[in-house]
């Protein structure tokens, strides 16, 4: 299988998805490998969703939420932060490269920050430099 590598981005409705919208309006470019999934809050992203995406062949997963203390539901990003630790540890247990997962805070007025995070992740995973690069453990 030689699918285009994909990075799944879980963006919360109130900050990061709004930032992605703004990035679109401002015509900021970000890599085509990013697939945004809108969630109400990063606090609702169960670690299993991240593992599932990676196991199904996503090159990486990035969770993007409101800055700590700015979450629309108050504690959501703190929960995401706590979960990010268990995700990181579980990836380590399973021997999955840590760089395939990331958590970032972006407010609705920071589209540049969002785009930079997307670019950085996709470069880190070696996507976009050459077309048709294989995903790590593709097809697993």
């Amino acid at each position: 299988m030689n699918r285009e590598p994909v990075i799944i981005a879980f963006c919360c409705n109130w900050c990061s998805y709004a930032a992605a919208d703004l990035a679109g309006i401002s015509r900021l470019q970000y890599p085509g490998s990013i697939r945004i999934i809108r969630v109400m809050c990063t606090g609702m992203v169960h670690p299993e969703l991240v593992l599932k995406a990676l196991n199904k062949g996503a090159a990486g997963v990035i969770i993007v939420g409101c800055h700590l203390g700015e979450c629309h539901y108050i504690k959501g990003s703190e929960m995401a932060l706590a979960r990010a630790e268990i995700i990181a540890d579980t990836l380590e247990d399973l021997g999955i490269a840590a760089e395939r997962f990331q958590l970032v805070w972006v407010s609705s007025s920071e589209p540049e920050r969002l785009v930079a995070a997307f670019r950085e992740m996709s470069e880190r995973l070696g996507i976009g430099r050459a077309l048709g690069v294989k995903t790590p453990e593709a097809g697993q």
């Binding site: 169960h46 670690p47 299993e48 593992l51 929960m79 706590a82 630790e85 268990i86 540890d89 021997g95």
Partner: protein
Amino acid sequence: MSGVALPRLCCEWLHGCSGCEVALLNGGDLFLGLLEQVDIVHFPLLMDHKCPDGPEGNPSLPRAEIGLVSGGVASKAQLEVLRTMRDRCRILVAFGTCASHGGIPALRNQWTTEQALSTVFHGDDCEYSSESESKGWLDRIYAIDEWVEVDLLLPGCPPRPETIVEVVAALAAGQQPQLTEKSVCEHCPTVRTGSGRMTVRRFLANADYEPEEPMDSMRCLFEQGLLCMGPVTVGGCGGREMPLCIRARVPCRGCYGPVRRQGNQLLDLLNILASKGIDHRAIVDRISLLRFSGAHGLLKPNIQG
């Protein structure tokens, strides 16, 4: 015996410990009662009857309405037996946690088959190592539903004798067996306040309780900081009464497997800790939270090793 044929029951065991079969026997009178409702056509623990080779060298088994398979799948030979069971039985039941989720043997999915074999059978003078290839080990331990369609999961390590008999009797009568889908916690009488200790204690630490007081005055073990797997484990071990381990005032170790079908007991439990703000790093050997459900690719060798 009257002329009416009883539904036939066929049992096979794969990568398990025979504890599930013994649990069925442990049903005592209930088991004897079952003998009037089914006709056992094949049951390696009970009858001097092996799974013989058919004409093409494949395993051959009698036809049956109900098939119970205990144990997961570790080798090609076991896979053949499993496929034959699927082929010969109308209803196929994953009997016990090994068959349903990999069970204890699947703990070795944290290593490759080669690593496991060379660790256990090390040294040049071990005859076993040369044989291992012809035995046809698979790359890991599988739950049976990873290979064939399974009609019912009957988890438990082992399942309750009463439950096994009820399930077989229900199937024999053409009914859908009723198994709980609720977690161990839902069957647990301990006192929950919604808040508790913010640190994890060692699993072997003793719970705090007054021996003469009834169970429903003991504080929930999870809230006491013990790593009770009740919230992520499917109930049923206590029948209509309280869960077995809780009854002994020790935390649930998760032997019935995940409460959500295809759930991940490790991630779900860590997730609970994270949501409560409890530091999961205090857990020694967290990977063992998958001790009963390492099949389905949940436990993998750590390639970085």
